[in-house]
């Protein structure tokens, strides 16, 4: 290639990151070449620190700084409601609303035979253990409204309901404050199907 060898190595490493193509990798690499030594050091430190200090919460499998994450250890959270999500980033989305008072459970994926992911590879056993441990009233299934998200939610409903908890699925429909005109047809059709009387 046309890059000097260390630069080529950096571009190559950046290209492996999600959402980064050859062009972006090149732009980032050239940017990193120009930043000060302090900035370089703090970036390296941030990466090292995140690798050293972030672990998984032993209860909900979200990312955590300790064995138990802040949400699971907080006395202010209602422990009888568990919101089941596919990925840690889904928790961030829900937490931004500041409305949900319960706790979470991260499956770490969804059931997808095409990707070789079966229920046994997700944190389902751990979820069942939390329920059989007692004190749980409701499980909210908040996987994405995709085929695989639905498959996972239906599978979970099938095995969790016999445990005697209330199992709910988040609603799908029109984005609030959105324009009907801009909603795609899939969303509009679902919204019409799931309409409610007022």
């Amino acid at each position: 290639m046309h890059y000097a060898r260390p630069l080529a190595k950096l571009v190559g490493a950046l290209e492996r990151l999600p959402g980064i193509g050859p062009k972006s990798a090149q732009r980032l690499a050239f940017h990193l070449l120009h930043i000060s030594e302090d900035e370089t050091r703090s970036l390296i430190e941030a990466i090292t620190e995140v690798k050293e200090k972030i672990t998984q919460c032993k209860v909900c499998y979200n990312f955590a700084e300790a064995d138990i994450c802040n949400i699971c250890s907080s006395p202010k959270r209602e422990k009888d409601t568990i919101c089941v999500v596919a990925e840690p980033r889904d928790i961030i989305a829900i937490e931004k609303t500041n409305e949900f008072r319960g706790t979470y459970h991260v499956l770490q994926g969804v059931i997808s035979p095409m990707d070789g992911i079966g229920p046994d590879m997700l944190r389902i056993r751990e979820l069942m253990a939390r329920i059989t441990g007692g004190g749980i009233k409701e499980i909210i299934l908040a996987t994405n409204p995709t085929i695989e998200g639905d498959t996972t939610a239906m599978y979970l409903a099938g095995i969790l309901k016999p445990l005697g908890v209330k199992v709910t699925r988040i609603a799908h429909g029109m984005p609030v404050g959105g324009d009907m005109d801009y909603a795609d047809q899939a969303t509009l059709i679902r919204a019409l199907e799931w309409r409610r009387e007022i």
């Binding site: 095409m114 079966g118 795609d184 899939a186």
Partner: protein, 368 residues
């Protein structure tokens, strides 16, 4: 609805074309390989987001060009006018915009403009392979029901997941639990697809039967039946779909593939009660095909409250008077139509005077 403007860049053999068709009948005359059919293809592409004859999108890109551009402006009576913009690249996915807004879902594109295409070998719908008849059903229903397009793509996704699981069942400890869920999803989407197909076949066949009877002067009676390995006579198709899946479960696991469902269903055409695929002559099969496409025009006009655009690719030449008259009935003033032929000699004066004649030559279109 009618096309008011068609702009092509590097599409097939059109380097740069701006074409303003007539609101009524457009007669495209030209020798072979001059671009007549490619013009129809561009209109078809704008309506359905695909070609009926190109295996890959890149086939439509002009030789040595990087990408092709198709822009179609369509006036619609029942809805707002629409500009459809399609960029086809050699290596990337096609980009489709409607009124300059990028569209990512096929279901938001298909059905905005309706077309009916009649090909020279329209008997193929009767005697061709079953996949051809399923494609016909899927495309025509998608054009009038955007919901159908979504159902299809969801169904295919579930089918892919399920086939993969069936192939790998023995290595999957909780496979049967997941299979139960996928059965439920497959049956739910599949049953809705079958229900919509049944309703469509019902409608189109009742119209096609009348047209067919007129063409054959009452001598022959045609019928179309939807056939499935699932018991579709029962009121609850989802339930009968699931029952069937339970019955054949072990065979599906053994063979590693889903054996029933809309992806395996077919249409059977009959003449006077006999299977037209094996017992009808090519002429009889052609008449069925023509009746079906003419009926499609009627169904589409009813559904979208205005006539679709009709594309006739080199079909007039070898049709007799009575069949021509049926086509002429819809192309003379009822809709916008594009008709291709190698020479003007193929047509009589009445037809020629009803339309505007364009000469297609080496990727250019000229008014006569």
């Amino acid at each position: 609805m009618y096309l008011t403007r068609l702009a092509l860049q590097n599409f097939r053999n059109f380097a740069d074309l701006l074409f303003h068709p007539e609101q009524g009948l457009n007669i495209l005359i030209g020798r072979n390989a001059q671009g007549k059919t490619s013009l129809l293809e561009a209109v078809y592409l704008a309506a359905t987001a695909r070609s009926w004859r190109a295996g890959r999108d890149s086939e439509m890109v002009k030789w040595k060009a990087e990408s092709a551009h198709v822009e179609a402006c369509v006036h619609r009576e029942a809805r707002n006018d629409i500009d459809i913009d399609i960029i086809l690249s050699r290596n990337e996915k096609k980009q489709i915009s409607i009124n300059t807004i990028r569209q990512n879902r096929l279901s938001d594109v298909i059905g905005q403009v309706n077309v009916v295409l009649i090909e020279p070998h329209h008997e193929e719908i009767v005697r061709g392979e079953p996949g051809r008849r399923r494609r016909f059903l899927d495309l025509e229903i998608s054009q009038i029901q955007p919901r159908y397009c979504l159902l299809l793509s969801n169904y295919r996704r579930i089918l892919d997941q399920r086939n993969r699981l069936l192939r790998e069942m023995e290595y999957r400890p909780s496979g049967s639990g997941v299979l139960q869920v996928l059965n439920e999803q497959l049956a739910s989407y599949g049953a809705e697809i079958i229900e919509r197909r049944l309703a469509f076949v019902d409608r189109i066949s009742s119209i096609a039967r009348v047209i067919h009877s007129q063409i054959t002067e009452g001598l022959e009676e045609m019928d179309v039946k939807y056939v499935s390995k699932i018991d579709i006579s029962l009121p609850d198709i989802k339930e009968s779909f699931q029952t069937r899946l339970q019955e054949i479960g072990s065979e599906e696991i053994r063979r590693g593939v889903t054996l029933v469902g809309p992806q395996r269903d077919d249409l059977v055409f009959t003449i006077n009660g006999h299977d037209a695929r094996t017992y009808a002559s090519q002429g009889q099969q052609r008449t069925i095909g023509l009746s079906l496409f003419l009926a499609e025009f009627e169904v589409m006009e009813e559904e979208s409250k205005e006539p679709p655009i009709v594309l006739l690719d080199d079909v007039m030449t070898d049709l007799d008077e009575i069949r021509r008259a049926h086509i002429f009935e819809i192309t003379s003033g009822r809709c916008q139509a594009f008709l291709t032929a190698p020479t003007k000699k193929s047509f009589d004066e009445t037809l020629l005077s009803a339309g505007k004649i364009f000469i297609v030559e080496e990727g250019r279109v000229m008014e006569e």
